[in-house]
Amino acid sequence: MRSYMLAGVAVLIETESLTKRYGSLTALDAVDIRVEEGITGLLGPNGAGKSTAIKLFLGLLKPSNGTIDVMGSGPSERVTARARLGYMPEHDCLPSMVSATEFLTHMAQVSGLPPTEAKVRAADVLRHVSLDEERYRAIGGYSTGMKQRVKLAQALVHDPVLVLLDEPTAGLDPAGREEMLDLVKRTGREFGISILLSSHLMGEVEETCGRIIVLEDGRVTQADAVSQFTRETDEVVIDVTGHQEAIVAAMRDRHVEASIDATSVVVKLKDEDEYDVIRDVVAEAGAGLRRMTARRGELRDIFRGPQG
């Protein structure tokens, strides 16, 4: 691996003004993306350009413009670099007639591992994804959850530096989804394999990833650590027993910005003295104060925009 270090963190993928056009349609529009070691979420609605970005990272598409650096490899070395890349597609991609152990052994060899080592790796990885007991059964007889785990296992069998996961929980029930996300977290944290997780589900990205890159209409709209998106805001949420309209009106009379959100009153603080204003207004309105807490940011705010 020839990734470079930036502020003590290995940068695995870096793009500059990356553009991909299909005829008149621009799928990616001059995006600058940096994927660092750890678990990164590539979040965006359908059609945002996530799959195009992944295909460009894998070297399956040529950019219309701009540059991509994947683990230090340029365009001419992209095929060789795939020896240390893993990919788990969203769609079905498993043979039905062969066993998981045979399939993984074969895939490890196609990634360049010698036959004996490939067999050992296949057994190890299948154990890590909890398929060691079923590994000699034909994949065609597996449940959806088991097939997803085989898909993850084939992406890990050659011990990649970075794995690209495309909607890894697609088609899974809630229990299967939790299991898969646990596996993804273990892969990133215990196995030391970096992950780029492409998803349109904010919940699973928030639960799993340390960093998020948000794509919308082919452009990167946000890119930061998850903690930055979910940190405390300057808004205070007040749950009261009633009189919400009166409280908001009284706040505005005292030049404090307030609004009603469902059954709560949300106050935008300018300075800490306004906590006294809140106390006084609630007391004057004769309402009971149930809870007062600083509001934390949510990932869904990304798509709601600043006016939310």
Binding site: T80, S111, G112, P114
Partner: protein, 305 residues
């Protein structure tokens, strides 16, 4: 009193791989081995290998028969078919084998979506299709040569003086290997190209069978001869017959086989090809193989995830 020994199993957790990585050579070898095994049904249970096994048996059965006939009816040995006629005799079986094997090599990867996993490995689409082609060519060549090799071996053993037999007939080996390569090229490239147009093995097999029968029937109908008043055999399409004869997928390799063995045939379609300079059917065959291979390659350059 024996001392009880106790063992404990520790889960070492995930162990990174720091062993050798053999690059593209290993990748290609893995694809080649995988295709050879699936073509012959190795490791797939009885049902998978029984049909290829039977067909291979049928290709070598005539060799056993010819050797037995040579031993039993030695005075009539000259009248028995030998190496020059062998391929024509088993061509239909070889062709059915290729119609089953070629779809097995290409169709499941696209039908199951496994192709997407291959193309993100350290190989290109060209590597993939070259390895698959090479695997089927290897199997076809082995199957094609099996009967001829058995026949040659049997005739050596049946001969009164085996050493003398080898000395007099060793050129037959060169000829049947050269002819076998031509037939294997045809039975690899065209069936693989046709298989690349379908994800279903049965459909692809039917298309392969159809293409051979249709082109053979087309060429036969348009280069068939009719008796003239003078008793000569004149092709129905006159001077154009030789061009129509070229379109039959079976005709050209059969003609090349006859050229290699230096024999003449009474078949009017082959006679029609005989109107050409010998290089023309050879060049046509070369063009057919190169253009089919190029089209197959092109199709796999367009396959995405």
């Amino acid at each position: 009193m024996t001392e009880e020994t106790r063992g404990e199993v520790y889960d070492l957790g995930y162990q990174p791989y720091d062993g050798p990585r053999e690059g593209r050579t290993r990748s290609l070898k893995a694809l080649w081995v995988n295709s050879v095994r699936s073509t012959l049904g190795i490791g797939r249970g009885a049902l998978a290998w029984i049909i290829p096994g039977l067909l291979i048996g049928f290709t070598i059965l005539p060799a056993v028969g010819i050797v037995a006939a040579n031993v039993i009816a030695e005075p009539f040995a000259e009248a028995l078919p030998g190496h020059p006629e062998y391929y024509q005799g088993v061509f239909l079986v070889l062709f059915v084998f290729s119609a089953i094997a070629a779809p097995q090599v290409l169709c499941p990867d696209r039908r199951d979506g496994v192709i997407a996993l291959y193309l993100v490995r350290p190989i290109t689409a060209t590597d993939y299709i070259v390895a698959r082609w090479a695997a089927l060519f290897t199997v076809m060549l082995l199957v094609v040569l099996a009967g001829q090799t058995l026949l040659f071996s049997g005739l050596i053993l049946a001969a009164g003086d085996p050493v003398e037999y080898v000395r007099e007939n060793w050129t037959d080996v060169v000829r049947f290997v050269a002819s076998g390569i031509v037939i294997s090229l045809l039975l690899t490239t065209i069936p693989l190209l046709i298989s690349s147009f379908s994800t279903r093995r049965v459909i692809a097999a039917l298309m392969i069978v159809g293409s051979f029968f249709l082109t053979t029937a087309f060429a036969a109908a348009l280069s068939e001869c009719e008796a003239t008043r003078e008793g000569r055999c004149e092709p129905v399409t006159r001077e154009y017959a030789r061009w129509f004869a070229l379109t039959g997928l079976e005709q050209t390799p059969t003609y090349v086989n006859d050229q290699i063995f230096g024999i003449t045939d009474d078949d009017p379609r082959l006679n029609a090809l005989g109107d050409f300079h010998p290089a023309v059917p050879g060049a046509w065959f070369g063009f057919l193989m190169v253009s089919s291979g190029a089209l197959l390659w092109r199709r796999y350059q367009r396959i995405g995830l």
